[in-house]
């Protein structure tokens, strides 16, 4: 299954891209995907969103289309 991985702000800086298509399966967790794509990135420093909703790092992504790395937000 094809998943769009989005990286914002410092996550984008650290990964070197904003958006990438990656191959995943429905039983994978965000933590496992991150460990595979960017093993140096620390998941405790950010939140993760699946299809525009905050998601647990350890809950499988299921049939999600989009996974986003959300570093600490600072709007306003």
């Amino acid at each position: 299954m094809l998943l769009t991985l989005l990286a914002f702000s410092i996550a984008q800086d650290q990964l070197g891209f904003r958006e990438r298509e990656i191959e995943c399966n429905t039983t994978e967790t965000p933590r496992a995907i991150l460990a595979r794509i960017a093993p140096t990135l620390d998941p405790t420093s950010m939140r993760v969103a699946v299809d525009c909703e905050y998601h647990d790092w350890d809950t499988p992504i299921g049939t999600a289309r989009e996974l986003a790395l959300i570093p600490p937000v600072s709007g306003g």
Binding site: F8, A49, C52, E53, A68, I70, V73, G75, G76
Partner: protein, 131 residues
């Protein structure tokens, strides 16, 4: 509750005030403005980015959640993106309600929640860097 959520790249110009009904007794407006000093560094500007579909969805839910304790009639939310120079507004919120306390409490709580949960990011553009 009428809600308008907008992200724009240009200077924020508040839309003309049009009352949603004859039962509106309060209109609260908030401008968040870029200050020169942030963390004791002199800034030239802040640069904002957003994960827009998620931000819009989160904001809609925050507004909806807050309308239970603080019933308001209409909300206009505008967040600027890209480079926002010192002295210009990065954020504009307008809230209409029957009574002032709801609109003021809603405004305060909405900004607090936005700052914690809505995927918007700012980055300093320092004075020595050419924007």
């Amino acid at each position: 509750m009428e809600t308008s959520i907008l992200f724009i790249e240009t200077e924020i110009v508040p839309p003309p005030i049009t009352l949603p009904s004859r039962e509106i007794g309060a209109c609260v407006e908030f401008y968040g403005i870029v200050r020169e000093l942030e963390n004791e560094q002199p800034l030239k500007a802040l640069e904002y980015s957003v994960y827009e579909p998620m931000a819009s969805q989160q904001l809609a839910r925050i507004f909806d959640d807050l309308s239970a304790p603080h019933p308001v009639r209409a909300i206009v939310f505008i967040h600027r993106l890209g480079v926002v120079p010192v002295g210009e507004a990065s954020l504009f919120i307008r809230i209409f309600s029957a009574h002032r306390s709801e609109a003021l409490a809603f405004c305060s709580a909405a900004i607090d929640r936005m700052k914690r949960h809505v995927p918007i990011w700012k980055r300093a553009v320092l004075d020595r860097v050419r924007v």
